[in-house]
Assembly symmetry: C2
Homo-oligomer: 223 residues x 2
Amino acid sequence: MQAAIVLLSGGLDSATTLAIARSEGYACHCLSIDYGQRHRAELNAARRIADAFGAVEHRVTAVDLAGFGGSALTDAEIDVPVDGLRPGIPVTYVPARNTIFLSLALAFAEVRGSRDIFFGANAVDYSGYPDCRPEYMRAFEALANVATKAAIEGHRLTLHTPIIALTKADIIRRGSDLGVEYALTVSCYQATDDGRACGRCDSCRLRRDGFKVAGVVDPTCYA
Amino acid sequence: MQAAIVLLSGGLDSATTLAIARSEGYACHCLSIDYGQRHRAELNAARRIADAFGAVEHRVTAVDLAGFGGSALTDAEIDVPVDGLRPGIPVTYVPARNTIFLSLALAFAEVRGSRDIFFGANAVDYSGYPDCRPEYMRAFEALANVATKAAIEGHRLTLHTPIIALTKADIIRRGSDLGVEYALTVSCYQATDDGRACGRCDSCRLRRDGFKVAGVVDPTCYA
């Protein structure tokens, strides 16, 4: 089995991405990032999901993004919006977060001899983040292919983003077909530490609408 | 004054790069990364250099690369080579290190509203690292310019690598002209915690030869 690195946040999208990577036969090395997010529920969920899908390993790497501030997800002084999606990039955007996460995944891939990174970015039912767009993914893959010793030695790295063009409902249908237990996942931007969702932030709204449109029972535990 | 982010390792190259950024009139926000390197002398040196050059601030951000392993600079079980430079990429290469450092600099730039990152990479008298080459720098700049909210809003980010094409001797001459006190810098891969250099690793050899060729007295404190 080929080794793949799977970035696992603990949310619905990355859990589905892990299920897809497993269904394609990869031995999955999961990576979660402890970046100073508001709550611990995400990382706990990531651990449960990695276990449920028979990941080879699950590594949690710490990086202090809260020290930079500038986002509602890392700075307790900035409120998470709960009034619905608005035009523009919301305050839940974390500066350069995906670039940091992918660069850590790239390091992990090189150490494990993996040429495949799976990343659950989505550019359809999303919050308008710049680093979720297909052109961003292409630019990162181009960078990865000049950045490493493996690249110089001729091993091409592929950045897989299997759900980037799916609607939230399609992601949920796909994951349900693959046996993802969405009760294990936490999407809420301000979940309680034991994983209950606020039901009002952008991420909760997108998730709830997704279950509704998919015709799948929403197993989310709301606070 | 325009704000610039300057990645500061504590070594000769990044100290010179900071001096160049200051000479070009930037207000410098220095960023050092505590990534689990073998010794603390580097970060202490970075602090002294930032002070000496009147940096606006000096932030040290922690990221756990030692957990990944795979390099003599982060894994105490892998010896630092002391027999001179050989063909190929040495074991002191840290997987994806510069990608991780630059992505953190990108986050810092976005939070500080800066459009300029200064990075002291060098592709002449160097150890053959893939992520020190000009094509790597171009790929990162391209990524940065699709990655952020600032990019979407039309603010172009420039990655400055002012010493990338200089020899070590030319870097030292340039820095000396700008008043860099090289006694403050630590280049050794396995310096003692109080900053004394081994004199035998690749980095020490490149540095010592640089001073010799430049005709500048080597102020390095050897162990």
